[in-house]
Symmetry: C2
Subunit: 402 residues, 2 copies
């Protein structure tokens, strides 16, 4: 049989992160590549109790098909949670559960994007968003970010330029807090200006906030959704970083008409999310376990971030710079301009250390001299040893390019 | 904010089954509408043990991100299971886990279909397939089925007709065993001829087999995949009907190149399926619990099928006919030609009984005088009472149309 696949594979390419996974079975490899939470942050004991109670109290319901939008009582608990943690007011009907945030990203692209429609992202941005938007043949345009988040002047100039060609972006995708991959947080002033631009040009904002609760220092900045008076913001949350990523549960908060479209599409995508995982999330919120778990995770990750930064200061060459995130899971490192981190990856893997090269985070592969480092997953001694190895690799690579 | 959605919503329409769901909270309603397993068939006690063991033995792994293709050990157990139950030989690399069979249907359409490409289905066919194929802008063409399954002569004529216009179907989608909605089973002879046609014209077969293990009488018929020598068949299985549908787990068995494409797409769809559910399925297979559970479910459903058929014989008007399935979950009822079951549904809902009208199962809404009845979900007394109500509704409707 000679299979002929659809043209979508001109847009979808294997991601560097996923191809790194084949190396992860090597116990010698220290990987800063994946975006995995540390298993120490998983509430295993609490889960055991929750699971036993679920099976005793509503086992059959937790094993039956759920509704496409998700469990009513879970959506009610989520409304309380986002009000308390992010100042977001949402009714049950404005919330839909998704099979991870990844499904939310896919669905949002699918409900808005016709072939080749422009979509604005940050540059760099989340690889999973690139993958979801590519699968829906979006024409992505990346706007630079700095330590205060997306450059809103550049954004407005881009919107005007598109407008002169009769085009308008379908949405503006941002990860304003502890950005993936850069680790930066958008300032309150920029958030307000972004919302103004969204209102002025009638372009929805997709605010992705997987890391908001993982703050290690500094003061919280208001979510854009909490300032949204006119339903311009589509807000994405997830249980992956505050409960467990293996339970594939994310959620979208948006005006009812957007939720209805995602619902209609989700019926074709997977009918409904996992019922058992929805019941787990419901109990996890209702019991307040989430508020006991997050501070433990924050303490664990703060130490790891500090250790990685200390190691970078100690071992990395002087030409290298890196972000100092107040939260989240990632550092963004910029190296000497002559270095191409994609090419250098082979050398790194031989030295048994992995990262994701910066170009993976751009829709069209810019910033060849940068890399993303995850600081949450590795054990402390591995963080130090991995940064040492990476410093060695960079120094070797410098000798080649010099 | 004035939202402008993509053109996909010219193809995706709300499904009748999902809109019926809003009535299901009415405790007076007897619904033969949904395709839900009976909660009595769920292995709740076994699940409790399995969950406790999972958390004790590999809790952290079951809460961490899994791989896109799914747990290695689960895929190995699945290979044993499909060999034993369906005579299918499959290597681990030829299997991918999906978030329910629904995701498999969506992914298969997405990897093969360019806009408006022809796809062959049975007529009637599964609504979820119509939804997944519509979401990928397939041009569906339904081939009639009879008590021996798809009319393969009509199929070949359609392929030739398309070929004269330079067109070729991207795949042929069939549910050969205990078809949804018709309840019929494709004969061995037709299966062989279908495979020959697939090979002659180089058109893949998508064999969807959610109900194969739910056989109440008669002899098993070989799966098409078990006869497939040249990798023409893409086989879809699910845990929904033999374990629990709330755990969203299906699987695809196909040549490696097809699995690789689904994998690449799934990274954008939801990254990976639910890890905890994968571990549950693994333990459920490994312990042999599945082989203890299926006979119980078969006994439960056989009685319900017999009871529904007996009630139909007793209460339904003479002009009505229905299929007598050897397994699965559904009966297909044909009424007097003057009746439009879509129109009659309002009257049925007033009489507190629900079904899905036949036209929902055709890509372009044929067969106005038929309906699908689910016999697995309702309690025995509700089956009798519901059929009585429905007979009353049909008789009333006949008086109007006569």
């Amino acid at each position: 049989m000679n299979y002929k696949f659809s043209e979508i594979f001109r847009y979808i390419k294997p991601s560097e992160i996923r191809s790194l996974l084949k190396y992860t079975s090597d116990p010698e490899l220290i990987s800063f590549g994946g975006g995995m939470p540390n298993p120490e942050s998983f509430p295993v004991e609490e889960m055991k109790e929750i699971l036993a109670d679920i099976m005793d109290n509503y086992g059959k319901k937790a094993l039956q098909y759920g509704t496409t939008e998700g469990l009513d009582v879970l959506r009610d608990e989520l409304a309380k949670y986002v009000l308390k943690t992010e100042g977001i007011n949402a009714k049950r009907e404005e919330i839909i559960l998704t099979t991870g945030s990844q499904q939310a990203l896919y669905a949002i692209a699918k409900i808005f994007v016709n072939p080749n429609d422009p979509v604005i992202t940050e540059g760099p941005t989340y690889v999973g968003a690139i993958s979801a938007f590519n699968a829906n043949t979006a024409n992505m345009m990346a706007i630079d970010i700095d330590e205060n988040g997306m450059n809103v002047d550049e954004l407005e100039a881009k919107i005007k330029e598109l407008s002169q060609n009769g085009l308008k972006p379908k949405f503006i995708y941002v990860i304003p807090t502890f950005q993936n991959p850069a680790g930066t947080t958008m300032s309150l002033d920029r958030r307000k200006r972004l919302l103004e631009i969204s209102e002025r040009y009638e372009i929805p904002i997709v605010e992705d906030n997987p890391y908001g609760q993982l703050r290690y220092d500094g003061e919280p900045v208001q979510s854009i959704k909490s300032m949204d008076k006119n339903g311009n913001v589509i807000y994405l949350g997830t249980f992956s970083k505050v409960m467990a990523p293996g339970l594939r549960l994310g959620y979208v908060i948006a005006p009812r008409e957007v939720i209805d479209k995602i619902n209609l599409l989700k019926q074709g995508l997977d009918l409904a999310s996992d019922s058992l995982s929805e019941y787990i999330a419901y109990e996890y919120l209702k019991r307040g376990a989430i508020y006991r778990q997050i501070p433990k995770t924050v303490d664990l990750y703060r130490k790891k971030r500090d250790l990685m930064i200390k190691s970078l200061e100690e071992y990395f060459p002087e030409a290298a710079t890196w972000t100092k995130p107040h939260g989240g899971m990632f550092l963004w490192v910029s190296l000497d301009e002559r270095i191409d981190t994609t090419k250098m990856l082979d050398r790194a893997l031989k030295a048994k250390v992995a990262y994701v090269s910066g170009s993976a985070f751009y829709p069209h592969g810019e910033k060849h001299n940068s890399m993303r480092l995850n600081f949450t997953y590795s054990d402390d001694d591995k963080i130090v040893e991995g940064i040492k190895r990476l410093a060695y690799v960079i120094n070797e690579e410098m000798e080649v390019v010099e």
